[in-house]
């Protein structure tokens, strides 16, 4: 477990040495981007109204306080299940040039291909720690696609020391959660056998 500090804009070289299981703390620009935003870009062919090239997206739907006059306060922000975006992510990375995909839990082969081909990382922020994360958001500098409602709006955040972010897919395409899953499934079968010998309640 090594620790890296990155600042946007991020270059390919910045990510070259980083491997799954490493920890990143991020500075710069991060944009919340989840289900409908992915669908709009990939399926509806609507261009993303925010430039995320060499920056980071966060799969999240935050709680934001509207302070009036286009000023907003980040109250509580944490990642949502990234697997829901798997269907779109390869195409999303290709089209947008985003470098860091931050979310919760593992993603699949499409994202692995994208990370390897376009030199990006998939990162996991420990979910549920939304106030801690919100204190790392210095400012909300823009809000786009407001019509999608609070959780789905693209909130453009200026962040400082945002983390810990655990590397789940690296630029070689290695996938921490998929590796874990193989081991989890193997152990599961052994546990089921043990339990099932003791629950023969119907006789």
């Amino acid at each position: 477990m090594r620790t890296f500090h990155l600042t946007t804009p991020i270059s390919d070289a910045d990510l070259e040495e980083i491997r799954i299981g490493d920890i990143i703390y991020l500075n710069g620009t991060m944009v919340t981007c989840r289900d409908v935003a992915h669908r709009r870009l990939v399926e509806e062919k609507m261009p993303l109204p925010v430039d995320v090239r060499n920056k980071a997206i966060l799969h999240a739907g935050p709680i934001v306080k509207d302070l009036g006059n286009d000023h907003y306060e980040m109250v509580s922000v944490g990642p949502t299940t990234s697997m829901r975006m798997e269907k779109f992510e390869e195409e999303f990375v290709k089209q947008t040039g985003v470098k860091l995909i931050i979310g919760k839990g593992g993603m699949g082969p499409g994202t692995q291909r994208a990370c390897e081909k376009y030199k990006a990382l998939q990162l996991v922020y420990p979910a549920g720690n939304a106030v801690y994360a919100a204190t790392k958001v210095q400012k909300i500098v823009d809000a786009q696609w407001r019509d999608l409602g609070m959780p789905e709006t693209l909130w453009v955040c200026k962040i400082a020391d945002f983390g810990p972010l655990v590397v789940a897919i690296d630029t070689t395409g290695a996938n921490l959660f998929e590796q874990n899953k193989i081991e989890f499934n193997r152990r599961k079968e052994a546990e089921i056998q043990k339990i099932n010998a003791q629950v023969r309640f119907i006789k």
Partner: protein, 310 residues
């Protein structure tokens, strides 16, 4: 194309006593959004001491820091404050029974602004967010008339999307037996549980059909993490599943570790001879479940939050 008829909400006219209950519920929902129940807090502390690797410790440290910040800054500890659910046992003579639905809906509406809670009500098929955190069927209110008393007991639950996703129910043939129940639960752990913010509280329902089993599994999440089923065989299965799922080693956030769950609770009711209904629901580590009781004069107790006053 016909225009969508938007969901609208008008604050109801409540009796003075109902307003009092609404205000107490508003305050309690706000507290539930930022403070974990005592049993969960204690369990997380215990589990943090068992995990020794730096990555797992980093996760548990972050959780601890987050809960402190939530309390200090008075903010919801997790951004996903769920679609509110209430599981209620109400005495038939509770004086506000007729206003109960209006009280709870308005309490959620008020708490959404006060806490503030996330806007989590999307009207289905019309597919727009009401922006109010209430909608058709949200909050959901499950009411059982318990006895003829004047008291009421309310569980408040906010489950985020992440730990709602593993929810599933199935009707097994009796030939599949309780072994089928075990397989069903264990498979759900490695497929969806991993993303549901472990360590999890796992609720298992056993009954006749999908809705009875699923409902039991949700009631199981209302029990404390260390509680034990009154049925000896169900208690045995709780213990076996807890050990089994822990041995899978999901660890906090699914990064791997010694423990996967805070507990496994089974709630069972009788079944049709031809079926075994099994349901599973999961609660994330940030298990925001509360319990409040009122008597007829609206004196309240908060058995899961020692020292808290509304």
């Amino acid at each position: 194309m016909q225009a969508i008829e938007k969901y609208t909400y008008t604050t109801p006219t409540l009796s003075p006593k109902a307003q009092q209950m609404r205000d107490l519920m508003t305050n309690y929902i706000t507290i539930v959004s930022r403070r974990l129940p005592d049993d969960v807090t204690k369990k997380l502390k215990d589990l943090a001491q068992i995990e020794v690797d730096p990555l797992q410790q980093l996760v548990y440290d972050t959780m601890r820091e987050n809960q402190l910040l939530a309390e200090t800054l008075k903010r919801p500890s997790c951004q996903d404050t769920g679609a509110l659910q209430f599981f209620i046992k109400c005495g038939a003579q509770f004086p506000l029974l007729s206003e109960l639905n209006a009280i709870l809906k308005d309490a959620v509406y008020q708490a959404t602004q006060k806490a503030p809670l996330r806007h989590n009500a999307v009207q289905t098929f019309d597919e727009y967010n009401t922006g109010l955190n209430i909608g058709n069927g949200i909050p959901s209110v499950f009411l059982e008339i318990g006895d003829n008393s004047t008291d009421i007991e309310i569980y408040v639950y906010m489950a985020g999307g992440g730990c709602t996703l593993p929810g599933a129910a199935k009707v097994l043939m009796p030939g599949e037996g309780y072994e089928g129940v075990v397989r069903f639960v264990m498979d759900q752990m490695t497929s969806y549980g991993i993303n549901a913010c472990p360590p999890l509280l796992v609720g298992v329902g056993v009954a006749t059909s999908v809705e009875t089993a699923a409902f039991n599994s949700k009631l199981a999440l209302m029990r404390t993490v260390d509680s034990v089923s009154p049925n000896a065989n169900a208690a045995k299965m709780e213990q076996l599943l807890e050990t089994g799922i822990n041995n899978i080693g999901l660890g906090p956030q699914g990064f791997g570790g010694k423990k996967s769950v805070m507990g496994v609770n089974v709630v069972n009711t009788a079944r049709h001879p031809s079926t075994i209904g099994v349901g599973i629901s999961t609660g994330c580590w940030s298990h925001r479940r509360g319990k409040i009781t009122f008597d007829a004069a609206l004196n309240y107790t908060l058995p899961m939050n020692k020292g808290v006053q509304l």
